[in-house]
């Protein structure tokens, strides 16, 4: 029952600091790429934002690996970028939203008809793949890197914004690049729709941080009623409210 000689704050043990301090990697002995890839790539802005924001423990991963998370963050940010109107996908926590969704029934297609046989479909017959969304996503993210490496000799997160847009464009429209078991378009559509969902769904799900997605477009979230506002000829700006407010 003795106090520790050195009580340690959480930062002392963050992965980055650990690596820096322990000397385990400094000696250049990084094993089979084991440790290197575990360190977040963009450390600078990370350090700053950590200092200011209150900690949200929900911002951790249930599904992605670090690399997948970073690729998702980069790709969604191109789809929904930060600009003068407000935060982009990254600032909104969209990649966390996607991570949590893919870990759940949505990623498992739990409510979809997944019995075979699977045939090639006409355009009007809807998706026929028996691959689950989580798998399509993982293959798609790998595809983004593969294609980036092929065309720009670098992984997706290391490309310039213009190059990233070019890669995404290819995935959105072209047929020049093939994924195993899914089309790039299938993946891209999933990526795009989940980006929009993550920007605008209730913050309960891990995206739409601080309701900033809603604030940008003056959407008031979950209000009890609009009997007054609805008859107003002027636009009425209402501070948004999340489902959390209903918990009393």
């Amino acid at each position: 029952m003795v106090d520790s000689n050195k009580p340690q704050g959480p930062e002392d043990h963050s992965r980055r600091k650990f690596i820096r301090n322990s000397g385990i990697a400094v000696g250049g002995i990084v094993v089979g790429g084991a440790l290197g890839s575990l360190i977040p790539t963009k450390q600078k802005d990370k350090d700053q934002s950590n200092a200011e924001k209150p900690i949200n423990y929900n911002d951790a991963l249930m599904f992605f690996t670090m690399e997948q998370f970073q690729t998702t963050e980069a790709a969604t940010e191109r789809i929904f970028p930060e600009d003068e109107l407000g935060p982009g996908a990254k600032g909104l926590g969209v990649a966390y939203y996607i991570d949590h969704q893919l870990a759940g029934p949505w990623g498992m297609n739990a409510k979809d008809y997944m019995e075979g046989p699977a045939y090639n479909a006409e355009a009007t017959q809807g998706t026929q793949t028996l691959m689950r969304r989580a798998d399509v996503f993982a293959i798609g993210l790998k595809g983004l890197d593969d294609y980036s490496n092929k065309k720009y000799e670098n992984k997706f997160t290391e490309l310039t914004a213009e190059e990233q847009d070019d890669v995404l464009q290819v995935f959105d429209v072209a047929k020049e690049f093939k994924l195993s078991g899914a089309t790039t378009k299938q993946f891209f559509e999933l990526l795009r729709s989940m980006t929009i969902e993550g920007a605008y769904s209730d913050p309960l799900y891990g995206g739409n941080k601080n309701m900033a997605g809603w604030k940008m477009r003056d959407f008031p979230g979950s209000q009890m009623g609009y009997t007054e506002a609805i008859m107003n000829k002027e636009f009425v700006k209402i501070e948004p409210q999340s489902l959390r407010e209903h918990m009393g």
Partner: protein, 579 residues
């Protein structure tokens, strides 16, 4: 309509320790090898969020998906077998690296006694020691013959350890020194020495120091972070196929690894395997992979199931004791005791999977069994694996399971209790076996494997004996209150016990009573090798991986030999000799 692929030299079914070792050894010899793994691709990068007890330990993040495939279970041949609908008693791995990614890293050599258990028992205690329902057999190989292969595996994995005075004799020191001796371990060692026992540091695949193995792969030093079993190692400090043999195999350029590839059938014609049929589990596409040699390197359960399903080898029949596939399924006896300490608090949350100390005085035939109603024994260890909070709520027996009292006591004892555990050996019994289920199917439409298993009198007697020894040690260690474990009425498929399942495709020197020879080559099909703990003729008093690794290295040698000679490598009779 399965798509037929180009023929290769060798195909392995499963890419864990055994599949990885085979791939590395064959590929280094210039043979081209395809490794088929039913689970996903995996590497250290996947372990970023590994310190998540809920995801990995409670919800089995790295283990077999039972919605696709499980087993059915019953205690007795006359019961109705029902599916193990969720994981419990044991945790088969899935994904590249297999259970070799989420093991604790205890790396033992079985005792010389183990490999000749039948002849030694008969010689020392007479033929009737156990009775004829216990189907113990010699393994068809001696310890001396297997010693070089043990060492080879230990070198690959860089095992950290120190001499065991009661263990199998070693020709070389361990590649790396023993792990740190924490105060908990020290206390165990002191107490057992007082009791005239012979403690030593448990041989560990969590390395005590950084190490480069003979293949040039580097393994890091363990950080004692407390997340080993059920977790992958983010540091690359726990030896696993993913940081040793698989990269070695890949470097040769002769190895092709295909993840998400679930083999559903071994194809054969006229007593020769021609290849395997597998399904891409993500897209549902089916493929045929022809090969000169087919090597089953999946888990015990799946090795057995694939043979039964493919109608290879003669299925075991408990009524006649004839047939070999599915025979001599064994498990282990998890005996032990827990001690509660009122005035002391331990750093139990720190640790490593193999941070432990052991005494082998009650293992194998290291003690006299003349007046005992069992044979063999078990290792007794204290391990400091890092206690995690969801699953570790040690409370004395009379405590309620929930509510105020439970909360109070579980918090109090979380860092104030220690356990001494036993790995008790498991002897085969005619009614403990594996077969195919008639009613339940997996996601691919194939029958599930059926497990028929219960504890025997031998098990109960051994359990009692070992638990009493464990309790004595804890008393000597100064515990205020000691509770010895009791064996459950019947083997129960729900609570976790251990993932040390063995047997089903056992080795031996006689095709009548064994399925493979001492190269793990099938007696009935020369170009089919079945490697893993499925080959154990019984289960010893240690964790199995060290012995599995040794058998895999020997099998690799056999396969390379077979590639030249194309024949049965061992002559089948009592006076066994190389053909």
């Amino acid at each position: 309509m399965a798509k037929k692929l180009d023929k290769v030299d060798a195909v392995t079914v499963g890419v864990g320790w055994t599949g990885g070792i085979i791939a590395a050894e064959l590929a280094k010899e210039g043979l081209n090898v395809v490794g088929l793994e039913r689970g996903g691709d995996r590497s250290t990068e996947d372990f970023q969020m590994i310190h998540d007890e809920y995801r990995y330990a409670v919800r089995y993040g790295l283990m077999q998906d039972t919605s696709k495939e499980t087993i059915t279970f019953r205690n007795k041949p006359d019961e109705r077998a029902l599916p193990m609908r969720r994981l419990g008693s044991f945790l088969p791995g899935e994904g590249v690296g297999g259970a070799g990614d989420h093991w604790n890293g205890h790396t033992w050599r079985f005792l010389p006694y183990d490999l000749e258990i039948k002849s030694q028992t008969d010689k020392k205690y007479g033929k009737d020691k156990l009775g004829e329902d216990y189907t113990i057999q010699d393994w068809g190989i001696t310890y001396d013959e297997l010693e070089p292969y043990f060492y080879k595996f230990e070198q690959t994995a860089g095992i950290s350890g120190e001499e065991n005075p009661m263990g199998a004799p070693r020709k070389h020191d361990y590649p790396t020194g023993p792990m740190k001796s924490s105060p908990i371990l020290y206390r165990f060692k002191k107490a057992t020495k007082n009791m005239k026992l012979h403690p030593f540091q448990l041989p560990s695949a969590n390395l005590s120091e950084q190490y480069e193995n003979p293949d040039g792969e580097t393994i890091n030093a363990c950080q004692y972070c407390g997340f080993c079993e059920r977790f992958g190692c983010e540091y690359g400090a726990k030896s696993s196929p993913n940081i040793t043999v698989i990269p070695t195999a890949k470097k040769t350029g002769n190895f092709e690894l295909r993840a998400d590839s679930n083999v559903v059938e071994v194809l054969h014609e006229g007593g020769r395997a021609t290849g395997v049929r597998y399904v891409d589990v993500k897209t549902g596409e089916e493929f045929v992979q022809p090969a000169d040699v087919v090597i089953l390197t999946s888990y015990v359960l799946n090795n057995t199931r694939l043979l039964l399903q493919s109608k290879l080898g003669k299925p075991y029949d408990p009524k006649t004791k004839e047939g070999v596939i599915g025979k001599n399924y064994c498990y282990q006896i998890t005996a032990g005791a827990t001690g509660f300490f009122e005035d002391e608090k331990f750093n139990s949350f720190m640790g490593a999977g193999s941070l432990g100390a052991t005494v082998d005085d009650y293992n194998g035939d290291n003690f006299d069994h003349k007046d005992l109603d069992f044979i063999h024994g078990g290792s007794l260890s204290i391990t400091q694996t890092g206690q995690r909070p969801i699953e570790n709520n040690p409370v004395p027996k009379d405590t309620p399971k929930w509510g105020k009292d439970f909360k109070e006591k579980s918090l109090h004892y979380f860092n104030r209790s220690l356990s001494v555990g036993a790995q008790g050996a498991s002897m085969p019994h005619r009614n403990n076996y594996l077969s195919l289920d008639e009613n339940y199917k997996d996601a691919y439409g194939n029958p599930l494997l059926k497990l028929t298993y219960d504890f025997t009198d031998q098990d109960r007697n051994l359990h009692k004996y070992l638990s009493e020894q464990a309790a004595d040690i804890l008393k000597e260690m100064g515990a205020d209150k000691v509770e010895a474990k009791e064996i459950s009425e019947h083997y129960d498929i729900v609570p976790y016990q251990s993932t040390h399942n063995t047997g089903g495709v056992i080795m031996g020197d006689d095709p009548e009573t064994s399925a493979v020879n001492n190269y793990s080559q099938m007696w009935d099909v020369d170009n089919l090798f079945v490697i893993g703990a499925s080959a154990f003729a019984h289960n010893g008093g240690y964790n199995p991986t060290g012995t599995v690794g040794a058998l895999a290295y020997r099998a690799a040698e056999g396969i390379i030999k077979f590639m030249d000679e194309d024949k049965q490598l061992v002559k089948a009779n009592k006076d066994r000799q190389l053909v």
